[in-house]
């Protein structure tokens, strides 16, 4: 019988297989950041162990980094200690590090792909659940805990039980205003936050094949929000074109050998998945969340659901709690929801394509009175690219704040936070209680919806702007 993509990549990394034991898997790329690594380095130090493969390890600063005044000392002493600890650890053990101010600094899941380190058929781990992002390249990529970070540093392997596989097939043409973010939010709402548990998801079908690498990363990024350990998309010409010429992409004969291997990384026709979900891409519409987990979402044109409509008692209870926390009423139209803050950024939607999409919408328009819009590129490189295209000016002219790269308001470990009761439309991936700041309320949206929401002051899609034409500069000027 044939094998699935995930099974192929898994099998190619088995260092040791023994009856009654988990497989020992080799790890091709280990990404580190300041939050989940200090205790792991401590463990190495205590045991007197070195980092086994410095050439497969790379670190960046992202979660705590400020997005303003990055040339000044970090104001929060606790954040400062954590960043300094990473710097000390990387220097002591010899790990390559991209610190704040470095052109390759940024959110770890944006940095790996843009350097060309994330490649098809590799295993990628990081002490961060959104490592699933890298699956967009046909890599087997998953988040790990700090004990496992230490394990990989010491051994470059991980003992793991092989998850099951689930196909998520999206056929049909996505409507013009539907983005990858809308698609993944709709998938999570359909299968639930626990629906992918125990599975590696493979997104496939004609609608997936048409997506750009950026859009594929947005989808795989949120696999964890469906409870899955990893999400994957088979590599194809789009993948190869994205990688070609990147700093760490193979060259010459290595490139040819790599592409030849990468082309084998497709689920065989006679392979069987343990579960399958089929979605009609043509039926989708812009999607937003109304609750406090990413599975509590609905099309933007819908209303806040009535908890009483849930048959399952725990779902009903969760919906009641969510509405109370979010300060929403059942039956209220989602479009009526007013926001104070719009956040464009994160490893879900902080890549150049996302910034271009948001900029195209705010261009020649103004952010609504009383709304603050924060635009945070996913990496310093993305920021530079955006500046070279003039996107920073577009955002600033519209009244948005243009910031330096990092995780920023995605989780508010730095000063970018919501105040209690404040409400945001956010292109990030988690709407958990207090995620963006204590008492803050989050609606997850696409960059396009975020931009339209910033202009109108309430949840909106670009189509809602039609009666608000942009004051465009005449062509050629």
């Amino acid at each position: 019988m044939g094998r699935t993509l995930a099974e192929k990549v898994w099998d190619d990394h088995v260092v040791r297989r023994a009856e009654g034991e988990p497989d020992l898997l080799f790890i091709d790329l280990h990404l580190l950041h300041e939050v989940t690594s200090p205790q792991a380095f401590d463990g190495l130090r205590q045991a007197g162990r070195p980092v086994r493969r410095l050439d497969l390890t790379i670190a960046t600063e992202d979660h705590n980094t400020p997005t303003l005044d990055i040339d000044k000392p970090i104001a929060d002493p606790v954040s400062r200690v954590q960043l300094e600890t990473l710097r000390k650890n990387c220097a002591e053990f010899g790990v390559r590090l991209h610190s704040l101010g470095d052109v390759e600094q940024g959110v770890v899941h944006v940095v790996g792909p843009q350097l060309g380190l994330t490649q098809p058929g590799t295993t990628v781990v990081c002490g961060d659940s959104h490592t699933s992002t890298h699956g967009a390249f046909g890599a087997l990529a998953f988040g790990i805990g700090t004990s496992q970070v230490e394990h990989v540093l010491a051994t470059q392997t991980l003992p793991l039980a092989r998850p099951k596989t689930m196909a998520i097939t999206v056929d049909g043409e996505l409507p013009e205003d539907v983005t990858a973010k809308d698609l993944i939010l709709a998938i999570i709402t359909k299968i639930g936050t626990g629906g992918g548990q125990g599975y590696i998801l493979e997104y496939r079908g004609s609608a997936i094949e048409k997506l750009s690498m950026e859009a594929r990363m947005t989808i795989c990024n949120m696999s964890i929000e469906a409870g899955a350990r990893a999400g994957m998309i088979a590599p194809d010409e789009t993948t190869f074109a994205y990688l070609k010429g990147r700093p760490h992409a193979p060259e010459g004969a290595d490139w040819d050998a790599a592409v030849e291997y990468w082309k084998t990384l497709r689920t065989d026709d006679d392979a069987e998945f343990d579960a399958e979900v089929v979605i009609d891409g043509a039926s989708l519409a812009p999607f937003v969340t109304w609750g406090t987990n990413p599975g509590q979402g609905a099309p933007l044109s819908a209303s806040v659901p009535d908890p009483a409509s849930y048959e399952d008692a725990s779902e009903r209870h969760a919906a009641e709690k969510a509405l109370e926390y979010m300060g929403l009423e059942a039956g209220q139209s989602l479009r009526e929801i007013q926001v104070d803050t719009v956040f464009v950024g994160s490893c879900t939607n902080g890549r150049i394509e996302d910034l271009r999409a948001a900029a195209a919408i705010v261009e020649g328009r103004k952010v609504a009175d009383g709304v603050r819009m924060l635009v945070v590129p996913g990496s310093a490189r993305v920021g530079l690219q955006a500046v070279s295209e003039g996107l920073d000016l577009v955002f600033k002219e519209a009244g948005a704040e243009w910031r330096h790269a990092g995780c920023s308001m995605c989780l508010g470990m730095n000063p970018d936070q919501l105040a209690p009761g404040e409400r945001s439309a956010s292109t990030s991936n988690r709407n958990f209680e207090g995620r963006q700041g204590k008492g803050g309320r989050t609606h997850l949206v696409s960059p396009q919806v975020a931009a339209a929401t910033a202009v109108l002051g309430h949840l909106a899609s670009p189509a809602d702007l039609n009666d608000q034409p942009a004051a465009r500069t005449p062509a050629g000027v």
């Binding site: 939050v35 002490g127 496992q148 760490h248």
Partner: protein, 197 residues
């Protein structure tokens, strides 16, 4: 890691589903660079509410958490496990755990036990009616016992063996050093490298 064989203690019934790791330990606690001192951050936001179950005097020193389905979803932060342990929990029972949280817990000797929701319901009822009721989590017998309740649970043999013996994963793996070196010697040249060494 401390070995886990069997544990008996009073329980905290947590009637909530989808308890994500941001609730277990909020992000601002993640700035600490140690594995201890997280007890005050455990469920920090909910503990501000005096009616929250953990704040009830009769729940002081309870060591078994009985939670709703999908416990530990969200971020991979191992700090969530440390916070539960620092607070004094030895075991967590739920009908479903998020994968990463489960892996983290077993690596630290916090036993996460999967039981059917109807048994979880029974444990809730028992411990809500009688806060003094004791729950035994017996890893040797793979059984949870409480007044009127005996429920078997599953745990893969390898994880169980490591827990029962308090074994450190890294030393076990390093016993297979030769296998790792052999694998490394066969990796294709086109695989990415972060630095030249």
């Amino acid at each position: 890691m401390e070995a886990f064989t069997t544990h008996t203690g009073r329980a905290v019934p947590l009637r909530r589903s989808n308890v994500d790791t941001d609730q277990i330990i909020p992000a601002h606690w993640l700035k600490k660079v140690t594995r201890d001192g997280f007890e005050d951050g455990l469920f920090e936001a909910w503990r501000k509410d005096s009616s929250f179950v953990l704040n009830q005097p009769e729940r002081a020193d309870a060591t078994v958490l009985v939670a709703g389905p999908d416990f530990g979803t969200g971020s991979s932060r191992e700090h969530a496990v440390w916070a539960l342990q620092n607070y004094g929990f030895k075991a967590v029972i739920s009908s479903r755990f998020a994968d990463i949280f489960r892996g983290n817990s077993l690596k630290n000797g916090l036993l996460t036990v999967v039981l059917e929701q109807k048994i979880v319901d029974a444990l809730w009822e028992l411990t809500e009616n009688d806060p003094e009721a004791e729950v035994t989590v017996d890893l040797e017998a793979r059984e949870v016992r409480a007044e009127g309740i005996t429920a078997a649970f599953e745990l893969d043999e390898n994880a169980r063996w490591r827990l029962l013996n308090g074994l450190d994963d890294i030393s076990i793996t390093l016993q297979n050093e030769a296998d790792i070196s052999t694998y490394e010697s066969k990796r294709p040249a086109h695989k990415p490298r972060t630095v030249q060494v």
